[in-house]
């Protein structure tokens, strides 16, 4: 039987964007256009995890699901180039700049139900813009599916999923049954680079686009639990003392002396 995996993927501001390039305009975080968006790094790892399952089991279909108000197609199609089979974009202005992700969770959940035969949802552990780590948990609760988080390895054996979960000092092996939601962490390893064949293949695949009206969501704005008051860049007010020396080694010695002088060591 075919195993159908949905991978959720979010298009985000590149987290490697230098701090100074983050701008706040009208209570919205932006960067200048010279910084292209990326797929959330952990979501690329989620794609990688799905591809590894596909390599292990063979009969696996991978559908990538993304929710947003607008997409850079060359960016969001990267999972297809990596080897995913389908791409569904939930694209609607209603998803623009939401602080409270409840609507996004409803939309993704409805889409998963609409797809119908999904066995496994794999998501990145959190998105690098809001760092919420809420969406996969919300999908699991709405679908009433079990969850395993922060995975570094996923094994699907029949109807059972075995996951290695990263812990602060080691890891644990947890087990659950399909259908389930699993979130992955960077300890899984780097996502693969798309090869030429993958890139060519991805060009031919057109994403399916669903708008909010296609999803049959009942949602009232009164359900919102978070209202944004303001966004601010944290103020750093430290004065840095650069230790000078005749050469680098001398600066190292002077650093030790200076720390002793200040009774820090």
């Amino acid at each position: 039987m075919t195993l159908h995996i949905v991978v959720t993927a979010k298009q985000v501001v590149d987290p490697e964007t230098p701090t100074s390039a983050f701008l706040i305009e009208n209570n919205k975080v932006t960067t200048s256009t010279s910084f292209a968006p990326v797929i959330n790094g952990y979501d690329e790892q989620a794609v990688e995890a799905a591809l590894r399952i596909k390599e292990a089991l063979g009969d696996v279909v991978i559908t990538v699901l993304s929710c947003g108000s607008s997409f850079a197609l060359d960016v969001i199609k990267k999972p297809l180039a990596m080897g995913a089979d389908n791409l569904i974009l939930l694209q609607d202005n209603a998803f623009d700049n939401l602080i409270d992700p409840t609507l996004v969770i409803r939309a993704l959940t409805s889409a998963i139900q609409k797809i119908g035969d999904v066995d496994l949802v794999i998501s990145g552990r959190q998105a690098s813009d809001w760092d919420n780590a809420l969406v996969p948990m919300g999908i699991a609760e709405l679908l009433d599916w079990p969850v395993a988080t922060i995975a570094r390895k996923i094994d699907v054996i029949g109807n059972t999923v075995k996951v290695e979960r990263v812990l602060p000092d080691g890891y644990e092996i947890v087990e659950t049954t399909l259908p389930a939601v699993i979130t992955v962490s960077n300890e899984l390893g780097s996502p693969r680079y798309p090869n030429m064949r993958g890139i060519m293949g991805a060009r031919k695949i057109q994403p399916t686009i669903w708008e909010i009206n296609d999803l049959g969501i009942e949602y009232q704005s009164t359900e919102i639990a978070m209202e944004l008051i303001s966004l601010e860049k944290p103020i750093k007010s430290i004065e840095t003392e650069l230790i000078q020396g005749e050469d680098e080694a001398d600066a190292g010695r002077k650093l030790a002396l200076r720390l002793r002088e200040e009774r820090i060591i």
């Binding site: 975080v29 690098s128 609760e141 075995k162 000092d169 947890v174």
Partner: protein, 321 residues
Amino acid sequence: MTKALVIGEMLNGELGAATFEGIAAARILDCSNVAVMIAGASIELAAEQAIFAGADQVFTISQGPAADGEFDDLINASYKIAKEIEPEIIIGSKTIIGRDVMPRLAFRLGTILVPDCMSLERDAEQRIIVTRPTYGGNVNARIACVGQPVVISLRPKSIDAMGLDQSRSGAINEIEFTSNIRTRIIEKIEEKSEGISLQDAKTVVAGGRGLGGPEAFDSLQELAGILGGAVGASRAACDAGWVPSSFQVGLTGKTVSPDLYIAIGISGASQHMAGCSNAKTLVAINKDEGANIFKEARFGVKGDWEKVIPAFIEQLHELIN
């Protein structure tokens, strides 16, 4: 009367910092009744501690899967308590437990978690206002929590615990709920490094991609040895496999707050700083003068670590023996 429910945690058989911080947060918000849930084997003493720390009522789970740390039952238990006492606010922590339990508890209660709060207050209309970092720490958001109930998680170590008051008293009750485990822990594999733990160390010597390979971490071990500290790392160094992921400091690694943090070959990305910016004194050694770490450090040396560190170690030997 405003009620709060704190989803407390045990740590190594004792009441964990998450519990103390959660109770303190409830008091900051002027909650007049603070209930705490804790789970673990032999927790009578911890329950009493929670009362001394400011709780009015403690719900305990002293046996079964929840006491063993199974998330599914921690959620089932906390959901039951929340339904029973109907708190205005539920407070947890962004720990390894809270990361799983808090969002799912909130969804089950029909609302959504406001995660990773660093500070909280009430506005003129008595709404709960929190400040939380976003974009890896590049931007702080002030958010009015308007859910019913309000469910938040605190960033560990961002709220000060209150002192213990041994004269306080309160009810301690074991709770009953229906167990339902769907994701089960099969085995835990500990990879604890020897010596002082990263989180407790007064000095942390951390290395990043700039160290160029695993061998350099030997020098960092030596340095940590002299200073009586522990070794940490950036995610880049962990991802490269130079040190285990348990060394990672940062947003998705460990939060440390030592007296002294020495960052070597680390650029100072906001996600890294999220784990170490509470250090009393931060020292940066980096060959790039423009590195962000210099904007956050009290002392800096611009230079190649291969030249700076041996001389630094040599001088320390002279000073410290």
